[in-house]
Symmetry: C2
Subunit: 441 residues, 2 copies
């Protein structure tokens, strides 16, 4: 049993003084607020770790490299496909381990990898058809992060169900049934990995023909895992879906059961009022990715209306051009300010929930995301003496002023993974550099 | 003479290898690119320092403390007035020194303080009527930053010329003539301070009656200094100005000569096409403050159209809720993406110009903002091995990925002011904390 004592902490939606965390065998056994204890005294503000619901680790290669070309979301996607074409199981593992280490350094202890780089170029399977997925699982182990491996079905290149384009060939399993069989094998392969849980996804209404959508939900139910789906990130997706099916992507996904109580809709930027009602009624959550959405010129989503509908919001770093959950969390509020001209739409406690416990639900790690007995001992420490945080005397102040650089220490299941802002276990930025270089070679 | 050799640098709008900076008596004497020299070898990416065109140092007190209340720009302003009411010359100096140190730590070596806290509460003058302004000058000296002290005329509470409200009383000099006399005294008082230059401002069309606007420009011409003005930050200002004068704030400011070749319009968020033509024709620049504009729910400005009109853009941290010129610089582009759905509107080199040399022009420090012989030896060093910058191999990548935390070293006129991310000379975050605490007392 260990007992760590901090001068301050973020507990139950407030910045409070004197927080002691007691943990044993990876689990929190007590959280004492307001009275100094005899635990080991440390400095800093202790808080629950972050949960990053939506990541494509390999997009990290593109950080800062897609700006000069102009264009829009779709031309950016062509660049992204080029990088996707250059990844192999071993380089994918090295790259992802570096990216996961970057996430840990930023206080993220669980990540949802939305994975669709399934096969070799041309679509041929590797000798193990799950080699690429298992590279992600190994990378998470290398880095020491919890992973929800969200295996995405990707069969078509548009809402009409057209065949995959050559640069998309490695995403495809040929049929929903073949995808399901591979996912069942993957479930068995990771069943004994304590740091890995499974999820499934329909990539989007573009990538899975309408007739196959119900079977994706079926596999999620069969395996009892979360189901994620990209929804209405760009107006063009809505237009194409309306033209083909006469209904919006949300309507299609609700009708086919993809959006339901175990579901998370990613982005959900361009929704109608009716879409929002449907998502709310379905029991699904929504994962916003504000830094990516502004990077990709997606537009301003309707976070205020989603919350008003009772929809839980979670957050993802998505393209990993930015890895900073503070920035994502306040991005919900700041984007709503730009859209509405109003301030203070979202309280800091609810923004923090989006970055922590709502994400934990979306990724099937319900035991993380808040500091309470029985939960996993996943927590982070912030430096209150940084220039950014000097003077911060409330949760609001911390949430709106902190950056990833203020995270000095990170614990995963009671194991310290980051100390003084440096990642333990040899996964340093240089390793990330090696991973990036390996892709470029 | 000193000669420092860096493995990389941002020079003339590009990330280049092997940069040597030679300087003597505070001035750059040579910049050698591409060939290793016998200078002292350092690590990192060397770059010109940042210029922060628009700051209200005392707003730093409000960082993270104005979010829970909801409201809008105008209710935020009421909170800000409350802080303004609690500042006195000595606390103002301590606070501003801490804030200026924070700016130096973020790589800013020149700041424009848009100053209107002129007098004691109730509007009585201090025994030295420039005591508050001189507190800023002393604070800049304490911290080691270059200051353009922009003394703002503030006479009325609305566009109709109504008297100041009680909480605005200390901003007012009673008349434009009295303001001008005080500013002439201030010019004499700082004339021998090498780190201080003067500017003047009309606070806004709300705060200076139309009849007095020409005289503000007159003082700028008389003293040969820059003139700044807040313009169209909120739609309500436009509406009130149209109702009172039948023309937009920009039209009024151009007609009265406030916007001209020596002018910088701050924000300029809600402009008409005609406004943009007029600003362009006047020769004025525009200073955007993207992180403040999203914080205050101002809305998305028209940066693309300003640039298309040939208007030079500069940048300010304004409310100092965020002090990160990388974030401001990419904010120009990211806000345009949210507005237009297009990417790559602004090249990285022009975004960097906004954060450096265009700002230097706006603040009358033309000798900083780019690495070239004859310029002041103001430069910064970035850590290319941080998680943020690992893999960054172009100016684009640096500009879109870096944060203030990647600035490790800062030189002002050849004097190292920040080393390893810590500010020299005793102005540490703790001093900022002391300054903040002094205000709260």
């Amino acid at each position: 049993m260990r007992r760590l004592r901090f001068p301050a902490g973020l507990v139950a939606g407030k910045l409070v003084r004197d927080v002691t965390i007691e943990y044993d065998a990876g689990l929190i056994t007590a959280v004492v607020v307001g009275e100094p204890t005899d635990g080991t005294a440390l400095s800093g503000i202790v808080a629950a770790s972050f949960v990053n619901v939506h990541s494509h680790a390999f997009h990290r290669v593109l950080r800062g490299k897609t700006h000069a070309q102009g264009g829009d979301f779709w031309s950016w996607r062509d660049l992204m496909y080029r990088v996707a074409g250059e990844l192999y199981p071993e380089t994918y593992r090295r790259l992802a381990a570096g990216v996961f280490a970057e996430m840990l350094g930023a206080g993220i202890t669980a990540v949802g990898e939305f994975h669709y780089l399934h096969h070799a170029m041309g679509g041929q399977g590797y000798s193990d058809p799950n080699a690429m997925a298992l590279s992600l699982a190994k990378a998470a182990g290398d880095a020491g992060i919890r992973l929800t491996l969200i295996d995405a079905c990707y069969l078509s290149s548009d809402v009409k169900g057209s065949p995959l384009r050559p640069e998309q060939s490695r995403f495809g399993d040929g049929s929903a049934a073949a995808w399901a069989d591979r996912v069942r094998d993957l479930a068995a392969a990771v069943a004994d990995e304590p740091h890995v849980r499974l999820g499934v996804a329909a990539h989007s209404v573009r990538a899975v023909p309408a007739k196959d959508l119900p079977s994706i939900r079926g596999v999620a139910d069969e395996l009892d895992v979360p189901i994620h789906v990209h929804v209405s990130e760009q107006p063009a997706e809505n237009e194409a879906c309306l033209a083909e099916h006469g209904i919006t992507p949300v309507e299609l996904l609700v009708e086919t059961g993809v959006l339901g109580p175990r579901s998370t809709a990613i982005h959900a930027t361009h929704l109608t009022d009716r879409d929002i009602e449907l998502v709310a009624a379905s029991g699904a959550g929504v994962c916003l990715c504000p830094t990516t959405e502004r990077d990709l010129a997606d537009g301003l989503g309707r976070a205020e209306d989603l919350v008003a509908g009772g929809i839980p919001l979670s957050l993802g770093t998505d393209s990993n051009a930015v890895v900073d959950m503070f920035e994502e969390a306040r991005g919900i509020e700041l984007h709503d300010r730009l859209r509405t001209g109003k301030r203070g739409v979202h309280g800091a406690a609810s923004l923090l929930d989006a970055a922590t416990r709502h994400g934990a639900t979306a990724l099937d790690w319900p035991e993380i995301g808040s500091l309470q007995p029985g939960n996993a001992a996943d927590f982070i420490v912030l430096d209150p003496g940084s220039f950014a945080l000097t003077g911060a005397d409330s949760l609001d102040a911390v949430l709106f002023a902190a950056t990833r650089n203020d995270v000095t220490d990170v614990y995963v299941g009671g194991t310290q993974t980051v100390a003084h802002g440096r990642h333990y276990g040899g996964i340093l930025p240089e390793t990330l550099g090696g991973g990036l270089a390996a892709v470029a070679e």
